[in-house]
Amino acid sequence: MAVVFCLLLPFFALGAKSVVAADAPPLVLGVFPRLHASETTTRYGPMAEYLSERLGRKVVLVASRDFDAFWVGVEQARFDIVLYNQFHYIRSSNTYQVIAHNKEFGKSTLAGALYVRKDSNITSVGQLRGRTVLFGGGEDAMIGYIAPMYLLMKAGLTRSDINARFAVNPLNSVIGVHRKQADAAGSGDGAVEQPALQKVVNVDELTVLAVSDQLLHLPWAVRRTMAPGLRERIQSVLIDLDAGERGRQVLKAAVLTGIGKAEDKDYNPHRKMVRAVIGSQQIKP
């Protein structure tokens, strides 16, 4: 908790300088820690500032130390606005309501995929039985684990049929396969197109073994208890970011190409996969 408070301090200070004509308490923006806290702050600090200006109300960014701390914040509804994993939204949708989704590399959706080395002689998902599969992120990673695992299950394999390992993120899982640390990698379908991956491995030595259905990208949600007017204003500010230069700068800082409108039913395909892979108990009605 103390760490969270320390991370918040600069933003309190920043907020103090920002002139926001509102007596209401600040809105808290939570971002899930798939990046280091410093990187999270770099990317989404401008977003919080932009929201403050547009909403006329201070918005404070919270970069959690780890997923556990972040999830505690979600469960206790400490965040007014939150950006997180699709699986997290599904799990917290009784408390939070999705209003938008990320667009990365110009796409609103992405799919889970299984990668293998071309020289592995693995050409079907079924051949992964008894093999090591390296998933990106943890078991709560929508694209890095749930979607690829859903592809394995569709091929008749269960979790026990494979040696499941987890890399810290989807890109690393692909790198692990390239470096022969696993036979297959669970990642997003655009992983091999990412410059970060292309800089460290020869993507030509990899191939996609299977790809899931397209799933809407990471969700932006707000507390369900939020006033509808505020919710709509937040949604409007987010989806209109690419309409102006200032907004585009915010998007560029967040390494996004845009933010699109979303509603809860857009994440039903995600619920379907989660239900298949993890079980119904993980999905709130």
């Binding site: 390296l134 390992r165 987890f166 890399a167 810290v168 993120n169 890109l171 690393n172 899982s173 790198i175 692990g176 470096r179 022969k180 640390q181 970060a196 460290v200 020869n202």
Partner: protein, 691 residues
């Protein structure tokens, strides 16, 4: 002179320091070359180990989380070091989890064609035997489980390149430091050592030139003490030089410049007057008869007179004029900027007047006279020697002209001087060459005209100038001292001839010989006794004619000589009586037998009343003292008659007989002997042989 000899102290010192520093720098560089690579290699290994351990510590979490990007970041950070060729994390199975290869490193570039597939393991294998590579390996362990290995390859080449670059920088820095230190040392040495030493050198040279500028003492260090010591020494030298200068250039008695300084000032005057075309005058002053002051009043009074004379001369001159004492009673006056001879003459008159003013010395009134020779520059000489010689010459001419005279130098004086010098030289050889000849002028009894003897006269038969009168060359012979030898020869010739004539029966009578005052100083009486004994001459045969000048010399010595002569029985004649001092005290103090009246008194007899009075007075005085009187220069019968009438005992002169040579005198003696043979009683004054 070599280059080393031309270097100053500062340059030598700085060069020495520079050489020492350069040698030190070179030694340091060589040592660095020898040790730095090994040292840096060791350092590099230590650094690699540190990096490796760090990677080993941070990597387990990334390996366990399959965070290859983070592993890449680690290896990239490690390999960012310029000398790291690769950083590779291998799994336990040996496959690379992360690898960073410096593909521009020469070691890698040399193998890139063979590793086109970018196979890291293959590249590592190729580099295994590379001696230029330092390979380090560190295990990555988590909970005792080895998760992988971290390999680091470090290039020695890069290390050496870095070492060389560092060495170059170090050498450049040391070079700058050495140059700076050398410059600083040189400047410090220059200002603190060289400048004081140069000041001392300059001051020493000044002291050597007689200038006494002191050295400024700026510090109390050794150089400051040296400067103080130098100043003390210079002060002592200055005092001593002043003392020596005074002693060398000033007369201790009068305090006036001495001869040396006088010559120096004349030299300066010549130089100055030549430059501005001006005249200057020299006055050579000699006190007349100064010796008599010393003799009669004592040397102390004589010294007082010199001091007073110098002061009086100085009193009438300007500050720009110089009065110097040359020695004895000689003074020199230098007057610059004299316009013409009239001005010089006027100055000479003032000098004569000033010197002639009476002095009261030791309670006595003393009157000094002087003779002055005057020369003008440039008419009378253009060198110091010429001017001094001519002034001296002119002074002697002035002295000859009479007391209180001042005479300008003329070329005629030089002519006479040269003649005199030539005569001195000829005179020097005349005796050896047999150019002298004795003549005899008979002396007769004034009353009876009987032959009584002869005055021995000396003639000089000069091969070119003929017969030269003694009045011409005797003063020169006296002045040069040659008179001693000549007089001795005359004396011997006299004795020789007398003895010869006596042996053959002639009656030569007495022979009167003139004795110079110079001969008196040389134990004349002893020499005379020797000759008389040698030739068997009785004392009555000789008469010694002495002038009054002899008596002016040292009285005791003269008295002793005269007494010795008298004791030997030799007659003494006072020659030229009346022309000199004619002090009657001489006649009282010294016993004479004969007075000789000078021809100048006889010449006017009997017409000139003054001469008559003087001759009468002399004859009366001689009669009173019991002395015989010889009248010289009797040429007329009237003179002879008068002298005889007045009781003059003896006479000589052309009236009676002219001077004649030995043969003629011998013939005269033969005639006299024949006449005596026919005359009863014979010669009245027949000299009897002693014994």
């Amino acid at each position: 002179m070599g280059v080393k000899g031309q270097l100053g102290l500062g340059a030598k010192f700085t060069l020495t320091v520079l050489i020492i520093l350069v040698c030190t720098m070179a030694a340091n560089t060589l040592y660095s070359l020898h040790t730095s690579t090994r040292f840096h290699e060791k350092q590099l290994v230590e650094r690699g180990r540190a990096l490796g351990r760090l990677i080993s510590l941070v990597s387990p979490e990334a390996i366990l989380g399959f965070d290859f990007l983070l592993l890449n970041e680690y290896t990239r950070q490690v390999s960012a070091q310029p000398d790291v060729v690769y950083g590779v994390i291998l799994s336990p199975a040996g496959s690379p989890l992360s690898a960073y290869i410096d593909r521009v490193d020469p070691l890698v570039l040399a193998r890139v064609p063979e590793t086109a597939s970018s196979d890291v393991l293959d590249l590592l294998r190729q580099l295994d035997n590379e001696s230029e590579l330092i390979r380090l390996e560190f295990p990555i362990v988590h909970n005792d489980e080895q998760l992988g290995r971290f390999l680091v390859g470090i290039s020695k080449h890069t290390l050496q390149r870095e070492s060389r670059r560092q060495l170059e920088v170090q050498v450049a820095a040391l070079t700058v430091i050495v140059l700076f230190l050398s410059l600083a040392i040189y400047l410090a040495f220059r200002f603190n050592v060289l400048f004081p030493i140069q000041a001392l050198i300059s001051a020493s040279r000044d002291v050597g030139r007689g200038q006494h500028a002191l050295v400024q003492v700026k510090a109390e260090d050794e150089l400051g003490q040296l400067a103080k010591a130098f100043n003390a020494m210079a002060e002592e030298v200055r005092k001593e030089q002043e003392k020596l200068h005074r002693q060398a250039n000033f007369d201790t008695l009068t305090g006036l410049p001495n001869r040396l300084m006088a010559l120096d000032r004349i030299t300066h005057a010549i130089s100055r007057s030549s430059r501005i075309s001006h005249r200057f005058a020299l006055f050579f002053i000699d006190l007349d008869n100064f010796k008599s002051v010393n003799d009669s009043l004592g040397h102390a009074v004589g010294d007082e007179l010199l001091v007073a004379t110098g002061a009086r001369v100085q009193g009438i001159l300007r500050d720009a004029d110089t009065v110097a004492r040359l020695g004895g009673d000689e003074f020199l006056v230098l007057v610059p900027d004299v316009i013409n001879e009239f001005q010089a003459e006027e100055i000479a008159e003032r000098l004569v007047r000033a010197i002639s003013q009476p002095h009261v010395l030791s309670g006595r009134k003393v009157v000094a006279r002087c003779s002055i020779g005057i020369v003008l520059f440039p008419e009378n000489g253009d060198t110091v020697a010429a001017l001094m010689a001519n002034a001296d010459n002119a002074m002697y001419q002035a002295k000859a002209a009479g007391q209180g005279s001042a005479i300008f130098f003329t070329e005629d004086m030089n002519t006479r001087l040269h003649e005199r010098m030539q005569m001195e030289q000829d005179l020097n050889q005349a005796l050896e060459l047999g150019q002298f000849e004795v003549f005899f002028q008979p002396i007769f009894d004034a009353a009876t005209r009987n032959h009584r003897g002869a005055e021995v006269l000396l003639r000089w038969n000069h091969p070119e100038r003929g017969s030269i009168s003694p009045s011409v060359f005797i003063p020169i012979a006296e002045a040069t001292g040659q008179i001693v030898g000549i007089g001795d020869w005359v004396l011997e010739q006299t004795c020789l001839n007398w003895a010869a004539w006596q042996r053959v029966g002639f009656a030569p009578g007495f022979l009167a010989i003139n004795i110079s005052r110079v001969q008196f100083r040389k134990r004349f009486s002893r020499r005379l006794a020797e000759l008389m004994a040698t030739y068997g001459i009785p004392p009555q045969a000789l008469e010694l004619e002495i002038t009054e000048g002899v008596l002016l010399d040292d009285h005791n010595h003269v008295a002793e000589e005269l007494n010795s002569l008298r004791a030997a029985g030799v007659s003494l004649s006072l020659d030229d009586f009346g022309t000199g001092y004619s002090s009657l005290s001489y006649l009282k103090r010294f016993r004479f037998d004969v007075l000789k009246i000078d021809r100048s008194f006889v010449a006017g007899l009997p017409e000139n009343s003054e001469d008559v009075s003087l001759v009468n007075a002399i004859l009366a005085m001689a009669k009173g003292l019991g002395l015989d009187v010889v009248a010289e220069g009797v040429e007329r019968q009237e003179q002879m008659t008068y002298l005889a009438d007045q009781g003059c005992s003896l006479a000589q002169g052309y009236l009676l007989a002219q001077p004649m040579d030995r043969n003629a005198y011998q013939a005269f003696l033969e005639v006299a002997r024949a006449r005596d043979a026919h005359t009863p009683g014979g010669t009245r004054h027949k000299i009897m042989l002693a014994g």
